[in-house]
Point group: C3
Chain length 143, copies 3
């Protein structure tokens, strides 16, 4: 049995510049290193309803382009939405958020994010305008 676990939390903000995928790995790794996280889980929680999270391929940027197109196909602008007061891209953004993830817990080993070889963690911005997106981070584990 390992020694007892501790909890550390913090916040990071991501400035988005339009719809698309924003890699979070380097920022999350800085948090882990600065706070002496060793082995455990890092939870990332997106505090918004028109931006979300996913873990996806880090190699061919065409994958991210195709993922954006797939989301547009599943939640098209110009659909028969009742909620229209915040612009034509707002209701599609809520649907895309529902279909992806608002929170993910990532394994941490020896102070490093232990993702797969081809994986990166992304914030997906679903709105066209620039936003400041706030993520709540929680590490629970050992030193």
């Amino acid at each position: 049995m390992s020694p007892g676990t501790f909890h550390i939390c913090g916040t990071v903000s991501i400035e988005t510049r339009g719809a698309g995928f924003y890699a979070l790995g380097p920022e999350l790794q800085r948090f882990l290193t600065r706070r002496n996280a060793g082995s455990g889980l890092l939870s990332v929680f997106c505090t918004h309803t028109s931006a979300s999270l996913c873990v996806q391929e880090n190699a061919d940027p065409d994958v991210l382009t195709d993922l954006s197109a797939a989301l547009r196909g599943l939640a098209p602008e110009g659909g028969p939405y009742r909620h229209r007061s915040e612009g034509p891209d707002d209701m599609p953004a809520h649907i895309k958020t529902m279909l992806t993830a608002v929170q993910i817990s990532l394994p941490v080993r020896g102070g490093r994010l232990a993702l797969g070889t081809w994986q990166e963690v992304y914030l997906i911005e679903h709105r066209a305008a620039p936003y400041r997106r706030r993520l709540e981070l929680d590490f629970i584990g050992t030193a």
Copy 2:
């Protein structure tokens, strides 16, 4: 480094009255307060395969109406399903569950759920009939 973490668990049941979104925030907050949770993560796990979870907008109810319609579009009743023995809304309910979330970990700060300003946690009931839905709760963190 914070003091060691503890774990508390419990169950809440939600009585649903047809398909739609049921806000969980007040019930989850009661659990945290009653059990003296301070700072950490609250995991919510839905023990069913035709109801699920999401974090979504708490302001304009039209958003929830549009989300329901989007799910109906992605998993229509009357599709060419093999599984039909439990009624026409059952297989669409399984698909909607797969496309949303069965489990979410929520940040807790100072004894309060630390969601974004416009966020609420919802149980999404996908069946038309009333059901009693059981959620497993786990808080891991500090006092």
Copy 3:
């Protein structure tokens, strides 16, 4: 308040034999039993971007067949994808991964996975070829 929590981690590999659902419950239960996990949360993280996770019905296999068909409908082979270098089933596999789950935390009670009566945890293989899929496991809780 319960005694302090501990963290244990490990890896399991699943050999897939084509697209479909692979039950993980027995393998996860072996991990919990071997490592003397008592009560807490077991996180399962899929280290791939063309395979993913879900919790779904364990009774009628037609449900899984219909879920596979639903995913094919939402992310068809032969779509207008830019990413084609890894075969016609690769980009659909990335989309299916985005729409389902890369990580789920499961409640554990008295050393047992505490799923609902009709629930099983599945790895969803989205590729046609056989693969060796690696899952990172983290238990945080008490003995």
